[in-house]
Symmetry: C2
Subunit: 407 residues, 2 copies
């Protein structure tokens, strides 16, 4: 597998475009389109929030029921959530307008929105935007990059990634773009992720691959259930790599899953590290848990603890906040045998040994924590399961009281 410079247009047959429709922002692109030259199998996973935005309701239906998908239309600025029947009508009209412009069926069009909840989308501006987007589609990297910029809201950087791997003598490409920024809970602002690939795969196996994948990628930057009204991951596969179609869980399927996980974990980290002013990407690994699910829950609990995040910002080894966060996850663990380590490019140090302070050197710990990427490793010594979650430190003045609490 090879990482390549690229994004949503990297895989064969995928095109993108962007335009400024003036939905909320006056001086930037706020709509994007993705289009495949040929029909795609597609699948998606969506927010677990009880309140689902209109496009989530539309897309969930399409990925479950439509024979194929060929285009995605996205807008930023307004989320089209809490908008009732009008909001659903806007999705339908958006898909219909796109379908008529691209000469495809309207149930081959996925729709996504991100931005303010509760406001209605201006459908005339959306339709005008779709006209522009449809005429401007192209497969260049530049087009994909501009699309990645058009979907940003509070993001401080655009987020793209692409990898290639081989199946037999065929090269398969996976390209992606996403938006979402790692404020207090990364998930609290809408996360939208789009993945395009030219792999030839059956819908059943694409679905299975995605459902397994998110457990260790996007779900590890969010608190269980604590998701926005619009969070969506959409994956389109158009088969243009011309590999033998994957219809069973063979080596080709494994290769695809590994490449997909590389992409989704990378996107997850990009989201986690994109908090305004954030200085550190935090990675929390729970090792030797009794079950995988327990490891995931505990990793998420630590990575989203405001007090742990503040301590990391303050380069403060104050490890007591870690067992506290492990403890309020609700998962039982043996408090007399667990170890905790801090790891970074500056070295590594054990701060807890068998549940007690290891007597570590504070100045060494501070040096290790003053890196821009810090790993907190908890070894529970209870079983053999491991999970990793990502987040960012809390860096603003408001955390001073916590970062300084111990000093």
């Amino acid at each position: 597998m090879e990482i390549i410079k690229g994004g949503i247009t990297s895989a064969k047959g995928f095109n993108a475009s962007s335009t400024g429709a003036g939905i909320k922002y006056g001086n930037r692109d706020d709509m994007a389109m993705v289009y495949s030259d040929v029909p795609c199998v597609a699948y998606g996973v969506f927010t677990s929030n009880v309140v689902k935005a209109a496009p989530v309701i539309w897309d969930r239906d399409i990925v479950e029921k439509s024979p194929y998908v060929q285009a995605i239309v996205v807008n930023s600025g307004i989320a089209n959530a809490c908008t009732g029947e009008i909001g659903l009508a806007v999705c339908r009209e958006t898909a219909e307008k796109t379908a008529s412009m691209l000469d495809i069926p309207s149930n081959a069009v996925l729709v996504c929105s991100t931005g303010i909840i509760g406001k209605q989308l201006p459908i005339d501006k959306i339709k005008k935007g779709i006209e522009n987007l449809s005429k401007d589609l192209d497969s260049t990297y530049e087009k994909g990059h501009k699309a990645a910029c058009a979907i940003m809201t509070t993001d401080t950087v655009s987020k793209e990634y692409a990898v290639q791997f081989n199946i037999g003598c065929k090269t398969v490409t996976i390209g992606a773009m996403c938006k979402g920024s790692g404020m207090i809970h990364p998930n609290m602002c809408t996360m939208l992720a789009f993945i395009t690939t030219d792999i030839c795969i059956s819908k059943d196996l694409l679905k299975k691959a995605i459902k397994n994948d998110v457990l260790d990628s996007f779900n590890m930057i969010s608190i269980d259930g604590d998701t926005s009204t619009n969070d969506s991951l959409l994956v389109l596969a158009n088969g243009m790599a011309e590999n033998e179609m994957i219809t069973e869980e063979n080596d080709d399927y494994s290769a695809f899953c590994a490449a997909l996980q590389e992409v989704t974990k990378h996107l997850s980290k990009m989201i986690a590290s994109d908090g305004e002013g954030s200085t550190t990407l935090m990675e929390v690994t729970i090792k030797n848990a009794d079950t995988k699910e327990h490891a995931r829950i505990m990793a998420r609990s630590v990575v989203s603890s405001s007090l742990v995040k503040s301590a990391i910002y303050g380069n403060d080894a104050n490890w007591g906040r870690i067992p506290c966060a492990l403890g309020y996850s609700g998962i039982e663990f043996n408090q007399e045998i667990y170890d905790i380590y801090y790891i970074s490019s500056n070295g590594n140090i054990q701060v807890v040994k068998n549940g007690l302070d290891s007597g570590y050197d504070e100045s060494i710990a501070t040096k290790i924590l003053s890196s821009d990427e810090v790993i907190i490793l908890v070894d529970l010594k209870m079983g053999h399961e491991t999970a990793t979650a990502w987040g960012c430190d809390l860096t603003y003045d408001y955390v001073k009281i916590n970062a300084d609490y111990r000093s």
Copy 2:
């Protein structure tokens, strides 16, 4: 019922003292003692965190098994959590030293700690502190106030409260002190609350009153399960008001429960509003829910939403964050009939009507939100149950990106 100026020493027969033991802070009192002239019935509720500090383990045992309680010893600076066998030994020695100084049994002594997790308490300093505390006990308001100051950690103000009410011709007093500050999750820093009363009540009914009480007071400033290693509420009743002993759920019991709820709700609000730099006490009421428990869960979900808190700080009526937080609480509700109102001393306004934007006047909403106490009222129109939760706004620079997101 009458609110009086007072605190932990207001009820008959209760004394307090404080001293600087030099546990962590050099220049302030960091230990406090509460002592009743006569034995008390006592009960407590404690953190649901899997990781429980040594004093929580000690106290839980005492309130369940001891025939009576007569003293509480508290230190700030070090939490005595994640301290293993040594930590438990420190609790036992603390109780024994106090017992020998006050000539009471060691199982009549409750022990509390708050501060850094993972460090061992210096037992020699603690013992020296207990000697000073034991000699300095007095029932004046001033002593109680100094005790309330001695238990503070990140708190910016000390927290005390007292009320009186009558049972027959007898005056009953309830006094209290607590610590804890309303950062991001009020509960994430240790909350300790101490309530003393001269009421004459059976242990069974005291226990019942407290267990019911916290459901609508302290539990409504915290996220379910998301509590620190040391959170504790301890209540002592010494019977010196000489009312006829309450042994059944009669009118006297109801009067006590009402007074207790007044005290605990007031303490909860004091904790919720004490975040450094916080400008607004946020109160979230869920009305007409189908069950009481659903109302509580939804109220807590909204009050602890960082995005709602930031919007309140920015005086921004951005109501979409409220149904988003209702939705990720996981409780189903009818999205086509709910209403949302903002209420303050500056007026009130309906921002959502039957699940949709009401077309409210933004400038009026902004004026209402620019008060130092704001109520968010959600009417679900599904049943007849109501619950209220409290929190504070997020006011620091780091929230700018959220507060400004919509403008």
